[in-house]
């Protein structure tokens, strides 16, 4: 199996669980899940991958410890973040009203549940523990959030990206779930699954 196929499969399983989790939070409102895309990008291309560098996004960032270490992030456009928070808190208002303490904590919890569900799926598959840290949230320029995630994970070479889009009740909600394992860590997952080193 090619490494990318393997990653795509891991992404499928993880993101399948993560979006199911989100769907449950939204009481089944989630309708459609676009097949995840997995790719390994050289650093130069990773910088531009997130697109629209000065557009505003919400980013939830977590560190993974345990048998497998690394970082994960859930990055979504501000409009998607707003829609999710409105659906979850049943409130409407200006950005400032929506992203108050309660709104921000709802976003953190969405990120936490999606990322942790993803890890739970990988853990069940591999019997390896992947413990997430407390989620951290930033609402800022996409470029600033993205580079802070990459730098926080010390990813300065190739970047492994697993991305998905989904929509709810006719409202488009899109997002990227990004898994950034520490360099040697994929081998542990591969080994646990009985796969040869590529």
């Amino acid at each position: 199996m090619e490494r990318l196929d393997f990653l795509r499969e891991l992404g499928n399983i993880g993101i399948g669980h993560a979006t199911t989790a989100l769907s449950e939070m939204l009481q089944g409102k989630l309708l459609r899940l676009v097949v995840p895309d997995a790719r390994i990008l050289p650093f130069e291309e990773a910088a531009a991958y997130i697109g629209g560098l000065d557009e505003i996004v919400a980013g939830i960032f977590m560190q993974i410890s345990g048998d497998v270490t690394g970082h994960m992030a859930f990055i979504l456009p501000i409009e998607s973040a707003r829609t999710l928070v409105e659906l979850l808190t049943q409130r409407h208002g200006t950005d400032e009203e929506i992203f108050d303490e309660l709104g921000r904590s709802a976003l953190e919890e969405i990120g936490n549940i999606m990322i942790t569900s993803y890890l739970n799926a990988l853990s069940a598959l591999t019997d390896l523990v992947m413990s997430p840290s407390i989620p951290a949230l930033a609402i800022d320029m996409a470029g600033a959030v993205w580079e802070s995630v990459l730098a926080g994970a010390l990813v300065d070479e190739a970047v492994t990206i697993i991305r998905t889009d989904f929509s709810a009740d006719g409202v488009d909600i899109g997002g990227n779930i990004v898994l950034l394992p520490d360099e040697e860590e994929f081998q542990k997952i591969e080994h646990a699954l009985g796969l040869e080193d590529f």
Binding site: T89, E101, E109, I113, T116, V129, S131, P132
Partner: protein, 120 residues
């Protein structure tokens, strides 16, 4: 007498969600804690019939908090409500004395069922 509940979760949103569900079903939420330390302190102060416990929290994690509470009160009835549902974590929580382990996201019925079972 309605049963009393202490809610522990580091996110305000999840505390609010749990509180709504629990109060709608005839329980009294007597306190909320945002981390393990606060949960232990509030448990000793409020002596609730039931506790909901998150795992990943600042200052003191949920597993440590369960152990602390059980050390003070071996009859404490604690239900874990956590996104982290990996097998070794579930086993550790149950060994520490938790009565049940709910993996987030959960529906309201499942929470109430767990509370009823833990404190009939």
């Amino acid at each position: 007498m309605p049963k009393t509940v202490l809610i522990t979760d580091d996110t305000a949103f999840m505390r609010m969600t749990l509180k709504n569900v629990i109060q709608k079903n005839g329980y009294i939420v007597v306190g909320e804690a945002a981390d393990g330390e606060e949960a232990v302190a509030k448990y000793l102060e409020l002596r609730p019939d039931l506790v909901t416990m998150d795992i990943t929290m600042p200052k003191m994690d949920g597993i440590t908090a369960i152990k602390e509470i059980m050390r003070h009160d071996p009859n404490a009835r604690i239900i874990v409500c956590s996104a982290m549902g990996q097998k070794p974590m579930v086993i550790e929580a149950l060994n520490a004395g938790a009565k049940d382990f709910l993996v987030k996201p959960f529906d309201a019925d499942r929470v109430i069922e767990a509370l009823r079972k833990a404190a009939p």
